[in-house]
Every structure is written in structure tokens, then in C-alpha cells.
């Protein structure tokens, strides 16, 4: 190694150099009195520091632990955000299942209403709903409402075997499945971390 190893001496002294670097420094030290002197200075400082006595034992260990115990509150506190996160995390599968159930129910009901209205079944309610979906009613509000209802009903009711309704249903179900899989993965990782 060319030049002095001053830059590496502290890391060497602290046992932080390994492998080739350590060997290089040792090889240099073997032939360099200047660097050896600097290393001796570092060693002398460490020795002098460590010569300084540790604090006297004022309290026996058991008594110290008992004193700490007396000062402890009932249970380790959990930060508010962690509590909320924990509750949310625990409730996630239930929320996902509820969301999936709601979506399926919405599609089912919408499909049933649409078919019933098309077939003239269900009495005046189905007919009214169908009429509403086809632009019935008066005024701007009724028109906007009927447009919205029409879009919702036709979208949810499918529009054919592979229409928008089916695609949307599949997409939402897939999204919920991905979220649930992510939750499962994080649950597994968490369990593993706690075991480590």
C-alpha cells in the first residue's frame, strides 16, 4: 500500500476493517513507524478511557428492577395511530368480504329488476323503474335522475354475457381478491417477524 494508512487507522483500531483492507493496513504498519506511533496513540487513549472505573453499584440489581417495576404504568402504551392502524388491519378481511357481498347483491338485484321490468313482471314497481330508466319523469331533476338510474341499471344488469356489467363485476371481484391476498401476505410477514 502506497502512502500512510492514517485514514484507516481508527477503523482498524476499532476492529471495523476486515479482509483485504485489514491485511493491507497490517502490512503497512509492519514497515511504517509513523503509522505505528499513531496507532499506539489511539490505543493509549482507549486504554486510558477504559481505565476509568465504572459507576459504583448504588442499588443492587434486584432492587433496581423492583424500583423500575414500581414506576411502570399498567401496560405498555400504544400510540393512537398504531391502535387505529391495528384495528383497521384486523378489520380489513371483514370489510373486504362485506364489500364483495354488497357488490354481488347490487349486481344481482339490478339484474333481477332489469329482467323483471323487461318481462313485465313485478307489477307497477318494475314498470316504474323501467320507465324511469328509459327517461320517464318531468323536469331537469327527474331527467338527471332517470339518466343516472338508466346508466346504473344497465351497467349493473350486465348487458350480455360479457357486457359491461360482467366485466365490472369481475374487475371489482379481482380487486378485492388482490387486496385480500395482500392482507394475507402482510399477515404472514408480520407473523414471521414476530417469530424472529
Amino acid at each position: 500500500m502506497r502512502g500512510h494508512v492514517t485514514a484507516l487507522l481508527e477503523a482498524y483500531h476499532d476492529g471495523e476493517l476486515h479482509g483485504r483492507r485489514r491485511k493491507d493496513v497490517e502490512a503497512h504498519l509492519a514497515g511504517c513507524e509513523s503509522c505505528r506511533a499513531e496507532l499506539r496513540s489511539l490505543q493509549a487513549i482507549s486504554a486510558l478511557l477504559r481505565e476509568s472505573p465504572a459507576p459504583r453499584r448504588l442499588t443492587p440489581p434486584d432492587r433496581f428492577a423492583a424500583q423500575v417495576n414500581l414506576r411502570l404504568p399498567a401496560a405498555p402504551e400504544q400510540p393512537a395511530w398504531q391502535r387505529l392502524l391495528h384495528i383497521g388491519w384486523q378489520a380489513a378481511p371483514v370489510a373486504l368480504f362485506a364489500a364483495w357481498t354488497f357488490i354481488q347483491a347490487a349486481f344481482l338485484v339490478a339484474g333481477a329488476v332489469f329482467i323483471a321490468a323487461q318481462l313485465g313482471l313485478g307489477g307497477s314497481l318494475a314498470a316504474d323503474l323501467l320507465q324511469l330508466s328509459q327517461g320517464g319523469g318531468t323536469g331537469i331533476a327527474a331527467s338527471s335522475l332517470s339518466d343516472l338510474w338508466s346508466v346504473v341499471l344497465q351497467t349493473l344488469s350486465g348487458g350480455g354475457p360479457l357486457g359491461w356489467g360482467v366485466t365490472l363485476n369481475l374487475a371489482l371481484s379481482a380487486l378485492i381478491a388482490v387486496l385480500y391476498a395482500s392482507w394475507l401476505a402482510s399477515w404472514w410477514v408480520r407473523g414471521k417477524q414476530q417469530r424472529v
Partner: protein, 214 residues
Amino acid sequence: MRQIGALPGQANRIKAGVSALKEWEGKPVENSAASEQTERDLIARSQQGDKQAFGELVLRHRQGVINVVYRMCGDANLAEDVAQDAFVRAWQNLRSYRPRSPFRNWVYRIAANAALDVLRAEKETADVDSLPLPATGDGPDALAERNERAEAVRRAVMALPPSSRAALVLREYEGLQYQEIADVLGIPIGTVMSRLSYARGRMAELLAPHLEAP
């Protein structure tokens, strides 16, 4: 060659040291698997509110925590009080502890912060120039001389800025590695090295008479 710890050129030394550390791979692991497993169990039980398990953890880390605080504050009585505070803080925050880093480092971090809080509260501003270091070699016996040196060391350590003092204490008295010190103090490894280098430079200046003594 310049004096150890002198500030000119320090940045280059630290840069070289950091790059050397980055090259190092395959760090040897020294541990006792059974002891670590027991500690993990104790931590898990403590996190569930088991005070007895936490008491075991206190017994395991009591001496180290007291040492860290004592070296930071320089007062043995105060060190015990602050160490107890540190353990209470540890208990209160135990649920936020994750076993990614050793429990010792985590509790040392709390202890170091507790010690720094005390130092700030006391507005402890030791002026290096106002700390007369006793002369050496004139002691009537070896014990007196040893006590004199110990007092000089204590004063010199207390004369350091708290941030550098913390790094020096964790390295020299607790034997922590650079990465562990970085974890404890929450600073980059390069900063650990610069603080250590500065602290040692100041020690070399303040304790020169004792270092030159045979």
C-alpha cells in the same frame, strides 16, 4: 505526520474509512442463539404487558444502560435515576419496538436520549478551558495517581459536546460497532466516524499529560 484527531484532513480520513467499511462483507456473527431466543420471548411477553418478563430485561441490560448514562452525565447517582427513567420510557414504547435491531441498541438509544434530555435540562455547558487537568507523576501512591487519572478522564469526557460524547461512550465503554452506534444515535455511519474522530482528537489534547506519562 499530523497529530491524531487533529481536524485538518479529518474528512478524508472519514471518507476513506467509510469506503473501506462499505467494501467489507461477510461480517462475523457472534451470538448465543438460546440467549437471543429467550430475549425474544421476554420481549414478546413484555409487549403483552408482562411486567415480570420486563423485569428480566431490566436485569439483563441494567448495567449497560447505567454505564451509558453515567459516562454521558458523569454522576453515578443521577445515572441510576436516568437509567430507571429510560427503562420506564422503554416500557411505554415497547409496542413500537420491532426486532429488526437488537433490543440492547434500542434501549441504549432511549438511555442516550434520556441522558441528553437531562444534560439539556441542566444546561450543562462545560468549558474545556475551565477544566484544569491535574498534573501527573507526583501522586504519593499508585492509587491516588489512578484516581487522579480517572477524574481527569471523567472531566475530559464531560468536556466533549454531548453528541460526540455519546459516540465515544458507546464505542469505548460499551464496545458497540459503528453500525450499532449509528442505529442507537440515529445518525449515518460517516457521522459516527467523524464524531468519534473528533472526540478522540479532543481526548488526545485534554489528556496529553496522562498519555505521555509512563
